[in-house]
Point group: C2
Chain length 348, copies 2
DNA sequence: CTGAAAGCGCTTACAG
DNA sequence: CTGAAAGCGCTTACAG
């Protein structure tokens, strides 16, 4: 079934006594428009099939300047959010006959730049990017080159591009409002570094929105950035600080699943009980939250929808570029949902 | 930084007034061996740099018949075991200047065959495969074509190929022995479908080994295959059956992390308590186990080492093939470790 | 209805 | 020390 015999267009043309041109046309479905007789078309198709002909992708790519491959860059494919996202992207692109190249940037600006170069060098037809960069130089280059790409998950306020995101601010607002509606006033927010990333910024804004809306004073002391390299220890320190200051919040909002995991560990190890001693709600839903004791209330992102939208927009852009029309920009903002479980205490 | 200007060898040769041959040689580090003067070499290098020359991969691939890309097929990249494996593979191949194409087969034989064809068609230089297939036809084809590949995680007893696996049988034996040493006699084993997969077979063997070793009768009734499509319900049914038969085991051994998740849910929803009502140990360690109440004892696989070994063997094979020597076969079997937590009750 | 030819951008004998 | 030329396998004007 898997043959490697390298049969080429020329082989087919030769055996059939026709030209490569004809074979190429037929195999690319351009038989009719070029008026190749049905009979000839059939003969070509059949032989190609029986010889198990597979066009050489390099030759094709070289000639046509396209690879039928798209690139996806995320910070870490082993983060469950991104692995599920990648899976959805994989499914979506493959339905359209594209292949996918998945890369992890590790939140390293240098690595992301390298990856971007590599993908362009590999001549991918487009890129889906969840960027770790603060500056927009790299995406501006892409834009200038008229290279099709869409930004997902993380975007730039001051830069116009194709984007598919979730309404992080509203999602966060709803989450914190849920906490407030349970009677809490001392609510802390933990974000993960690098703090410039739009998801973190927006979720923190949403947190502040909620407090403002309910006339709760916003306190810097309750907003902490946690270094992603050492979440557990950083979070533990924060709790210890709060405790020794006698300023322990009654609830915390965490903006990312890894952060949540670190918090759950730290809270447990400090002998604190959820939600009795401290309430918690997290952004991103993972298996763990459903099964934790108590189950953790969280904000769930429509991962599949993010992926599908991004792919759709990207493929549209690729098509547009092929017709050498100029690229348009599409923005898609999806809503999150809050899954209420048992990690928030109802205060009197 | 990212230029798309498509500068070619010819451009460099032209501006420098030398031949493409020379430029190509220099850029491929063959300047010295072809006796190109240091001076010329420098001029070429500098210009290439300043023009930001990037060789066209299609042209290169077409000419040389290699892509510098390797393929990885796993059942599902969103399964944490595989996403971590993929991440390690990505790191390992990129250190050697290779790119990676990750694909999910979804345990579908048809899909896996398509993926394999696709990767070969894309002319990847080698494949790392965790196969879902029962038959070995597909890997035999690869072998016959002298196509470099290595089987990981899942292998075939009756088929000789490069393999990197974990000692599933011993890992399972140790896990079950741990249960036995805590005084249990009624121990069940749950495996996931498709049950023909070597990991499942071997882990079940290990389970039986442990029972035999301790002279505990092996009972078919305590060995169940769970359909992966509907784990939660299937597991619930099994527990209900055991209960109504008054045959509830005191401990279960589950052979996969997804299965474990389903079990934890089912056990919780049936109002059973771990480890008081039932003890459990799982194969594969995931974040959840560490944080669950109680923390779940599990068998941990050396994921990074699996990845690194597989990549090393694969790249060796690719090199060997390039020198048109015949491929050798390497087998690597890594040991697992058991992480003891609190999910097994000490019986009197 | 069909074919000869050019050309995509490389690398590699071969020749001097 | 260096270059002209062939060829990898395709697609696409162009010609008839």
């Amino acid at each position: 079934m898997i043959k490697n015999k390298k049969v080429s267009l020329a082989d087919i043309a030769m055996t059939l006594g026709v030209s490569k041109t004809l074979v190429s046309m037929v195999l690319n479905g351009k038989g009719d428009e070029n008026g190749i007789s049905k009979k000839t078309q059939e003969r070509v198709m059949e032989l190609a099939e029986s010889m198990n002909y597979k066009p050489n992708q390099f030759a094709r790519g070289l000639r046509m300047g396209r690879s039928n491959t798209i690139g996806l860059i995320v910070s870490d494919i082993s983060n469950p959010f991104y692995s599920r996202l990648a899976r959805s992207v994989e499914d979506a692109v493959s339905e359209s006959g594209y292949n996918l190249m998945i890369c992890s940037s590790d939140e390293s600006e240098e690595k992301e730049m390298k990856l971007l170069e590599m993908l362009i060098n590999k001549q991918v037809d487009g890129i889906i990017l969840s960027s770790t960069l603060d500056s927009t130089d790299h995406v501006e280059s892409l834009q200038n080159e008229n290279f099709p790409f869409v930004l997902i998950d993380r975007i730039y306020n001051d830069f116009e591009a194709n984007t598919v995101v979730v309404d992080n601010r509203t999602g966060a607002l709803e989450a914190v409002e849920f906490i407030i509606n349970n009677g809490h006033k001392k609510i802390a927010a933990l974000v993960i570094s690098p703090a410039h990333i739009s998801t973190q910024v927006d979720r923190l804004e949403g947190y502040k929105d909620a407090l403002s809306k309910h006339s709760i004073p916003i306190n810097q002391y309750y907003q902490k950035v946690v270094k992603r390299e050492d979440i557990y220890n950083a979070v533990s320190q924060i709790f210890i600080e709060w405790k020794s200051d006698h300023m322990m919040p009654t609830a915390i909002f965490v903006t990312n699943n890894q952060l949540a995991i670190g918090c759950l560990e730290a809270i447990r190890d400090l002998g604190l009980s959820i939600p009795k001693d401290i309430s918690i709600v997290s952004f991103d839903d993972i298996d763990l939250f459903k099964l934790y004791s108590p189950p953790i209330t969280s904000v769930i992102q429509p991962i599949n929808s993010i992926a599908r939208n991004a792919v759709e927009i990207l493929l549209d852009n690729i098509k547009i570029k092929d017709n050498s029309e100029s690229l348009i920009k599409t923005h898609k903002c999806l809503q999150t949902n809050i899954v209420v479980r048992n990690s928030v205490l109802k205060l009197a």
